[in-house]
Amino acid sequence: MTSGKAVTSLLEIRNLGVTFVGRGETPPVEAVRGVSFSLDRGGTLALVGESGSGKTVTALSILQLLPYPIAAHSAVSSIRFAGEQLVGAAPEQLRQVRGNRIAMVFQEPMTSLNPLHTLEQQISETLLVHKHMAPAAARVRTLELLRLVNLPDAESRLGAYPHQLSGGQRQRVMIAMAIANEPDMLIADEPTTALDVTIQAHILQLLKDLRDRFSMALLLITHDLTIVRKMADDVCIMTAGEIVEAGPTADIFARPRHPYTQRLLAAEPKSRPPAANLAAPDLVRADDLRVWFPIRSGVLRRVRGHVKAVDGVSLAVRTGTTLGVVGESGSGKTTLGLALLRLTEAEGEIRFAGQDLAGLGQRQLRPLRREMQVVFQDPFSSLSPRLSVAQIVEEGLKVHRLAATAAERRRLIETALAEVGLDAQAAERYPHEFSGGQRQRIAIARALVLKPRFVVLDEPTSALDMSVQAQIVELLRELQSRHGLAYLFISHDLRVVRALAHAILVMKDGRIVEAGSTERVMTSPKHPYTRALMAAAFDLAAVPT
């Protein structure tokens, strides 16, 4: 194993091709074409691309983990790890490599840990299998590993189950499992995508430390350019199954040559919100808004306490401006948006255009529903899969009787679709025929067709690829200036918020910790939490909070 290292790199991939056989009439899909790169000990290579670009398939090919009768490698494919050919290797040989010399960390820590096993069982499994350790020794090693990944109270957590840990802690456990056998190489597939920004910074720091400590090779798969810039020595830009550009990170970011790379880099939201009349009257006001979910216990189901999802929030959104709401998951952002629309029960005063919404019943609210709309985060769950696009968009028109005839309704639908950049043919299709970005456009068209004055945007860009995200942000800005819409823009992505919001609120645990104009909060945050958030988001700096 050491013999080959002197001449070649630890990992050498040459002309990797992966094809998935088609089923029925569907033709075979060529997921990866002619991918070549190499990676050395102590180095970090980032595979960057949008969803469907073939980065995960490439990573899984290294461990030969693809569903093999369905997936096939091209004849010229070669994956050499420490001199050994892995393509078509015998199962015993692969078992020696998997989890032992090459380890992998997956994106979603909740689903990659077995919910029925304790931490000790999960981590010691690999030690027992690969190292044939005695149980007592494995336990000592497990503790050592948990300390290595900085899991607090490691000793008392040995018997804990995955659901008792937070997302960040689970990812630490995944990393502990991956490095248990001191692998030569670590593959991290979007290791922080499911995590909040402040936790993301800590996990990336941890990966970096471990890489240096064990002089591992780190293959980082991500779509987040900030992470690439911060972590990787070299970068490969993938699109449509091919590497279009590769080289040292600094070079590529400074002088992108391929048009796709240039587009990708340009897609990072850099712009500032459109000019707006910041003295415009308030359209939506909330005073001391509270959403408390009771915690009941005992035989009589007495209320023992409350989960304070939103706790005493006051805000105002001016006509034609955007109020950004930022915070980490569980901070109450989404609940706040739903409460403002009276989609969840809330206490406190909500005023829309001077009218108090708090006391109104569903029937009295109906005329106001036309003026306040919402766009949700996940465009795959916010469109009913059984209705055509025309049916989805026309629903609001029917409820509010906005069109006298079918022809007029049709015209309104087509106008709304045109406004979000879809052509009239889209009306007869079903949501599953569209990509994520197109679906988000449909969701926006559904809101827009009613000509609302206020739209709650609940993370509308989070589920989308970078370049699509930029298009949606551009669309939202355009619609705002054309129709004078007021937005409540909820997001955890501070870059997008900076590109859209005139003012922002920072939420933590249901309360507002800081509020003010975007420029002021971003450049000189006052609250320590806001400062940590900004540092984590823009510099990936791990600041203890």
Binding site: T239, A240, F376, S381, V399, R429, A443, R446
Partner: protein, 361 residues
């Protein structure tokens, strides 16, 4: 995969149609998947063929001719009763076409077209070579039961009654069950809590005893049995539908509909119910099987359809009472076993067709 041409890129247009109606691509995928399951697909056709044939039982097994040509005029005894005097007989009562006297009268001035099996389920063949139950013969292809009635004729009518009973009970209990499940799941809270407790008590009632007790008050007929069974069978679907509604009521598209101001009724029918139909349709063939089995077992025990009605359960009971006449028990067993198997095969195919995770290679 590249995003540059985004707004202009669509999937290939599809204009799928079924029986002239436009169907969604999802439905088309399911139909294709169903067709690919050869066993289920052919089971459905075989079952439908048998069922449709038995729907016209009167034209296949009857104790009167389908058509009579007498004295230059057409008669349709299948549809109407004609007095014997029409054909020159002596009695003003309805003609008995099996009576040799009537046969001779008609033959003199015309002809009769008989169905392939000249027996109704209640026709007693007095002209048996051996005491009833008599074994299969040229006249009675599957033999006769212990009262001299043709087994094949009783099978055809009994099959029809069983399937019709099963279909009606399944249909009605699905409607009630889906409605109850939808209301509980969608509104949740106290309505759900109250309804669930009620169902627990209701499901605890002993159905069989209730039927036996009712049988001593009234003479149970088809509709009485259907009503009584319906009182209890609607609960089988409630839990499935309720679970689907509990899940779907917090989906973003339901929230979006609520934000549009759509009323609860429309949300239930238009947005949530289509989700629940998958679970419902998957269950239907199995509920149908259950309903048929229930009716058969009641008939077998003697608490089912009134005496004399054609029924598979009653034939089974006769087979048990007359072990020396194996054609009774064997026929009933094979008919029941094949009918239930066909339905299970169909049910499996439907279930797989609706399973989004099932990959057919």
């Amino acid at each position: 995969m590249t995003a540059s041409s985004e707004p202009a890129r669509y999937a290939v247009p599809t204009a799928a149609r079924l029986l002239g109606h436009k169907i969604t691509p999802l439905t088309r995928r399911r139909l294709n998947s169903f067709r690919r399951n050869r066993r289920g697909f052919w089971s459905l056709w075989i079952f439908l063929a048998i069922f449709i044939v038995t729907l016209f039982a009167e034209f296949i097994a009857n104790d009167r001719p389908i058509l009579v040509r007498f004295n230059g005029a057409w008669y349709f005894p299948v549809f109407a009763d004609y007095p014997e005097t029409t054909f020159g007989g002596e009695f003003p009562t309805a003609a008995d076409y099996r009576d040799p006297a009537v046969k001779t009268l008609v033959a003199a001035k015309g002809w009769m077209l008989w169905p392939p099996i000249p027996f109704r389920y209640s026709t007693i063949n007095y002209d048996l070579p051996s005491p009833a139950p008599s074994p299969p013969s040229q006249v009675n292809w599957f033999g006769t039961d212990d009262q001299g009635r043709d087994v094949l004729a009783r099978l055809i009518y009994g099959f029809r009654v069983s399937v019709l009973f099963g279909l009606l009970l399944t249909g009605l209990s699905s409607i009630v069950g889906v409605a109850a499940g939808a209301v509980q799941g969608y509104f949740g809270g106290l309505i759900d809590l109250g309804f669930q407790r009620f169902m627990e008590i209701w499901a605890g009632l002993p159905v069989l005893y209730l039927l036996i007790i009712m049988a001593s008050f009234i003479e149970p007929n088809f509709w009485w049995l259907l009503g009584l069974m319906l009182l209890f069978s609607w609960m089988s679907l409630v839990d499935v539908v309720r679970a689907e509604f509990l899940r779907a009521r917090n989906f973003d598209y339901v929230r979006a509909a609520r934000a549009l101001g759509v009323s609860d009724r429309v949300i239930i029918l238009r947005h949530v119910l289509p989700n629940a139909t998958v679970a419902t349709i998957t269950f239907l063939p199995f509920i149908l099987n259950g309903s048929i089995t229930t009716l058969t077992s009641l008939d077998f025990l003697g608490f089912g359809l009134p005496p004399g009605s054609p029924s598979l359960g009653e034939l089974l009971a006769q087979g048990k009472a007359n072990l020396q006449a194996p054609w009774l028990g064997l026929t009933a067993f094979f008919v029941l076993a094949s009918m239930l198997s066909l339905l299970i095969f169909v049910g499996e195919a439907v279930r797989d067709a609706f399973d989004p995770r099932k990959v057919v290679l």
